[in-house]
């Protein structure tokens, strides 16, 4: 994680801050972590996420911007408390919908969504043939997609 953050910031202090934040964030995912899951992949993704969050905060405090981050800053500044609340509700809705999946479907769905693993990597880790992984991930995604749409219309 420190390697990822150091690569992003270049400064040891910022990198350590981001890595520490990433460790805290990773704690929230502990319930998703089990023996079959690739913790390293998840840790790297969380670290990258923390880098981006910290970078946005830094950009808001400095006027010397070399990189075009308008979409990021717009997204941060335009988010009202109501939108943040809606985002939280949507996230809760997703968690509920995913929890309704079959254990295997849920595992594969999360390996793609949370860990960011490819079909090949999932097949290698779980021992399930690649074609079956694709079918199961597709089934899980379609179920979640249909349920989310139904709930959004309500």
């Amino acid at each position: 994680m420190l390697k990822v953050t150091l690569n992003f910031f270049g400064s040891q202090d910022d990198a350590e801050d981001a890595a520490q934040e990433a460790m805290l964030q990773l704690w929230h995912y502990c319930e998703h972590i089990d023996a079959e899951r690739n913790v390293e992949a998840l840790a790297v993704r969380v670290a990258k996420n923390c880098c981006v969050s910290m970078y946005r905060k830094q950009q808001r405090h400095t006027s010397d911007v070399n990189i075009d981050t308008r979409p990021l800053r717009q997204m941060e500044s335009d988010e009202s408390p109501q939108q943040q609340l809606e985002a939280k509700d949507l996230q809760r809705m997703l968690t509920e919908v995913v929890a309704q999946l079959k254990p295997r479907e849920r595992q594969l769905f999360e390996m793609r969504q949370t860990d960011g693993l490819s079909t090949e990597e999932i097949a290698k880790q779980t021992g399930i043939p690649k074609a079956s992984v694709t079918v199961m991930v597709s089934t899980a995604r379609k179920k979640v997609f249909t349920e989310l749409k139904r709930r959004m219309k309500q």
């Binding site: 990258k48 981006v52 970078y55 075009d68 793609r112 969504q113 597709s138 749409k149 219309k153």
Partner: protein, 155 residues
């Protein structure tokens, strides 16, 4: 990315056929849309914050790679100018003969003499050259004084 491209990626995503890189691309494209249908909203939610965060991370890193900072550009320009200057100076010094001013002065000195002096004390053993030099020095003390003074002034 056009709406058609997004829809195609969403269809492939639901079929489980997209790669993680394509999913990051899709997350970024959906994030940049202000208004979108419920279908797209649902897919955006399914892709998750981590996918979006990773996509933004990659974008920032690629922008950094392709766009060097102003300081770096300035340093490159300064070092290029310095290198050109040094190369120019080197060639200028190569073309400029260091003995040229001395030769002119020699000429002036020689004009004061009744006859042009041939080259001397250039052949023989070191001892013979030294002896030859001392003989000439004794024979023409004024010339050596002038040479010494010119050398001092040049320094």
């Amino acid at each position: 990315m056009t709406n058609k491209d997004i829809q195609q990626l969403i269809d492939r995503y639901l079929e489980g056929e997209t790669s993680p890189a394509e999913e990051r691309q899709l997350a970024l494209a959906l994030q940049q849309r202000e208004a979108m249908p419920d279908d797209w909203q649902a897919v955006k939610l399914m892709l998750g914050e981590l996918t979006l965060g990773e996509a933004e991370y990659d974008t920032i890193m690629s922008q950094r790679d392709s766009k060097p900072s102003a300081l770096l550009i300035a340093l490159r320009v300064i070092s290029s100018i310095a290198a050109i200057y040094l190369v120019g100076l080197f060639f200028y010094l190569q073309t400029e003969t260091p003995t040229k001013p001395m030769a002119t002065n020699y000429h002036k000195v020689e004009t004061n003499q009744p006859a042009p002096q041939p080259a001397y004390c250039t052949e023989g053993t070191p001892r013979e050259i030294l002896m030859c030099y001392l003989e000439h020095k004794q024979a023409q003390p004024d010339t050596y004084k002038q040479l010494k003074q010119m050398n001092y002034e040049n320094q």
